[in-house]
Structure formats: C-alpha cells, structure tokens
Amino acid sequence: MKLKRFFSQIYLTLIFIFLYAPIAVLIVFSFNSEKGSRFNHFSLRWYQELFQSEMILDALWNTLFIAVTSAFFATIIGLISCLGISALKGKPKAVYMSLNNIPMLNSELVTGLSLMLVFAAFGLTAGYPTILIAHITFNIPYVILSIMPRLLQTNKSTYEAAIDLGASPMYAFYKILLPELMPGIFSGFLLAFTMSLDDFIITYFTRGAGINTLSTLIYSEVRKGIKPTINALSTIMFVSVLLLLFFVNRPKKDSTKQ
C-alpha cells in the first residue's frame, strides 16, 4: 500500500512537472538580460520595458475588459436561460440543449469563421462589439453547463413555499434560489472568464483594426521573435492569480483547525 502511495506521488509530480515546466521556463526567461533562448544574466529590464510598452498594456487592458465583460453577460444570459430551460420539458428541452452544445462541439475554428462571415455579411465593422458577441456566444454554453446541475439539485418546494407565503417571485428568487445557485454561477463565471482570457482563435477571426488581445499580439510577435516583455507580463499575471488563490484558500484551513 505504501509502495502504491509512493508511485502515485511520483506520477502526480511528473504530471505537474509536465504542466508547469513551460511556465517555469517563461518565468525564468522573463528575468533574462537578453532576448533569445540562452540565459545571460539576471535583469529586470523587461519588467521596466513592460510598463513603457503601450502596445502590451493596451492588449492587457483589452484582454481583461473582454474577458470580464463577456463572462459577465454570458453569466447573466446563462442564468436566465437556465431558469427558462428548467421549465421546458421533453423535445423542446432536448432541442434547446443540443443547440446550446453546438458552439462546444463545433470547434472554435468553425465558430470563429462562421461569426466572421456573419459580421461581414451584415456589414458589422469588426471591433469591440464583434469580439464581445463572439466571446459571449462561446461562453454561454459553459455557464449553462455549470448552473444547470445545481438548479436540478435545488429543492423546488422551498421556493414554492416562499411564494405561497406571499413572497414575490423576484424576492423568492433573490432570497432562496440565487444563494443556492451561487456556487454554480460562480464556477460558470470563472470558467467563462478563463475561456475568454485564454482564447485566441475566435478573437483572431473577429477582431477589428488595431484591437489586440494578448493572444493576438503574441501570435503576431511570435513570427518576429517574442520579446521577454510578454513573459514579464505573464509572470506578473500568474503570480497574482497564485496569490489570490492562496489568499482565498487560507481561511479554509483555519476553519478546519477549529
């Protein structure tokens, strides 16, 4: 049994090395004094250049803005539709759910291309609105898939009891259903935010003049040889998320001790 434990520990470690090795490389090279794949000596040069590069800061702003906004709208639309779907039954529900699955099955490539064609066909100039619409479209399914299971688990009688006792549907929803759905809503939002943050393909096809997210900026820079300023930015983002995660998880440990 101990041996098994030992091997599983080794296996997990190897997987983690596999997942995090490139990230470690990126972080290490953000402190490289020169561009390129040879480490010269430690330097904070790229961190200084980062805060002077308007292009990167713009791209960062765009990325965050698009991720937060699209996740926000996708969560709201997703939540509302979940309530609607739960009232549907049989065939309509099945059709609705398979429509919802299309963007996930369809691959980002086809989703991005088809949206690009639609925007062009209807004369929508590519810009923030087109990127946002595209991101919301591929984010909603993830939100629905996060909230739906929660909704099915909730006890409907509590909600109905509240209504019977004279609460308005809005009030009952707010007081009873919403808190119960919160974990689902939260994970849906987080998933949508992450998918949007990490997306390249859909943005690539639907972006307009001069609007770069980090992904599209990196894609165009890869060809000329990436400057470690982007590594520096990613390092900062990564470390902040890590800290946030640490911060959020700490109270949990304390409560188990008590």
Partner: protein, 271 residues
C-alpha cells in the same frame, strides 16, 4: 413554474442569430463558387491530395493525442479521488491555473525547451546523450496538443470519479471482486460519462487546431485546421474554406455520435 418558459427565449434568439445563421452562411459559401453559382466542388475538394492528406494527418494526430490524454489523465483522476481532496476548488484551480498564462505563450515556451540550442538539448549534452530537435515533427505537435488539452481530460474524469458512490465500490470488493475486477467492472463503466466529455473536449480542439502545428511544426506540417485557416487568411477563398469546414464538421459530428453511444445517460455534461 410554467410561467418561466419565456425566460429561455432571449438566448434562443441569440443562438439563432449567432450560432444557426452563421452555420447556414458557412453552408451557403460552401456550396457556391467565387462567382456565386451553386457548386459542390468545395466539398469534393477534400479528396484532392493536399486536403485529404491534411485531414488524415489531423485525424491521426488528434486520435493519438486523445488516447495519450486518456491514459495520462485517468490515473491522475483516480489518485486525486483516493487522496480525498474532495470536490474542492483547489485541485481544479491547479489544473486551470496554467490557462491563465496565455495559451500561445505556453506553447511557445515548448519551443524554448525543445528547439536546437534549447534547454533540453543542453541538458542532454551535459549528461552525454545526443538530442536532435523534434520541432517540425509529428511528435512535437502531439506533445503540444497533449500539453494544452490534458486538463480538459483530467477535470471531467475527476468530477465523475469523486461523485461516484463509494458504497458501490466497497460492495464490489465485499462481494469478492479483486482490485482489477472492481476497476473494470464497476469504476470504469461508471466513469464513462466523464470519459465521453473528456474525449470530446480533447478530440475536437486537437482535430481543428492550427496554432499548435503553426508554432511547433516549423510550418512543415499542414493540418486541416491550417488549410482552412489559410483559405481564409491567405488564399482569400471563403468558399473553399467554408466547404472544407463543412466536411470537418461532418467528421466531428460523426465522431461525437460514435462516442456518445457509450454515454448511456445521455447527459455527458459532467464538467
């Protein structure tokens, strides 16, 4: 709660506008030529040597990638389940966390590791093994795919395994099944929904990728994703690009139908 049905309409309208109509438009372009007349040439173009070669290569690489991901991910999910880390967000975050570091950048980092004069080469040199760069080969592309999509396999498997009723497993061993039998007769069949969604989430993006082959393939390897992307971005032929996309969609749908036959619950949404 019947009153709430109307709440599903806004998204229905949204889906029609931004999912259905775009697909119909792909269909329209796919069946017309540059002059706007009806043709099936863009569909049959898949049989031209360049296109069918790319499609077969994509199918081969994405299948391999899916299998490797499944083999790598299943033990991870089992170990995590046995560790009783619970449904806790922390484990999930560990696997989502890399996604907060840009996907292109992470893939590009492999270039630093694998390329000539890269870190792996220098490491191999220092311990006296010779290493030739795998950049530009199928291996590099599979590695990039597995790296990028492995979390999509681990998470659904982990979800389904932690939700599994421990009593069922205990019952199996109480009734005399050994560890291997318990696994093949109980755990594996019960985890099928997780496998199905994992396979879906790995197979589809790896079948259609053009970025990984672009970055790690030294542009020597053309996948069907590259062909389609370049029809739009370079050849400026949205008709051929749409036609090939339609064929690709058929392949995706067919393989999904095949996979979902194993998903008896039909829910498949364990993410």
């Amino acid at each position: 709660m019947n009153k709430k049905k109307w709440l599903s309409t806004p998204y229905l309208v949204w889906m029609i506008a931004f999912t259905i109509i775009p697909l119909l438009l792909i269909g329209y372009y796919g069946f017309t030529g540059r002059d706007g007349s009806f043709t099936i040439e863009n569909i049959t173009a898949i049989f031209s040597p360049a296109h069918s070669k790319a499609l077969l290569k994509s199918l081969y690489l994405s299948l391999l990638c899916t299998i490797v991901c499944l083999i790598l991910a299943y033990p991870v999910a089992l170990i995590l389940k046995n560790k009783n880390v619970g449904q806790g967000g922390f484990v999930i975050m560990i696997f989502i966390l890399p996604m907060w570091m840009n996907f292109l950048l992470r893939t590009y980092a492999w270039l630093n590791l694998l390329d000539d004069g890269g870190i792996i080469e220098r490491f191999c040199e220092s311990i006296g093994i010779s290493y030739t760069s795998i950049i530009g080969t199928d291996i590099a592309i599979i590695l990039g795919m597995v790296y990028n999509f492995l979390p999509f396999m681990i998470l659904p498997l982990f979800n389904v395994l932690t939700k599994m009723d421990q009593h069922v497993i205990n019952a199996a061993s109480d009734l005399g099944a050994n560890a291997f039998q318990t696994f093949t007769k109980v755990v594996l069949p019960l985890s099928l929904p997780g496998i199905v969604s994992g396979v879906t989430m790995v197979f589809v993006p790896s079948l259609t990728t053009f970025v990984i082959s672009d970055l790690l393939g030294a542009r020597k390897v053309m996948l069907i994703g590259n062909i389609i992307e370049q029809e739009f971005s370079i050849a400026d032929n949205r008709h051929l690009g749409s036609g090939l996309s339609l064929v690709l969609m058929i392949f995706i749908l067919a393989s999904m139908a095949l996979i979902h036959r194993y998903d008896k619950n039909g829910e498949g949404s364990s993410l």
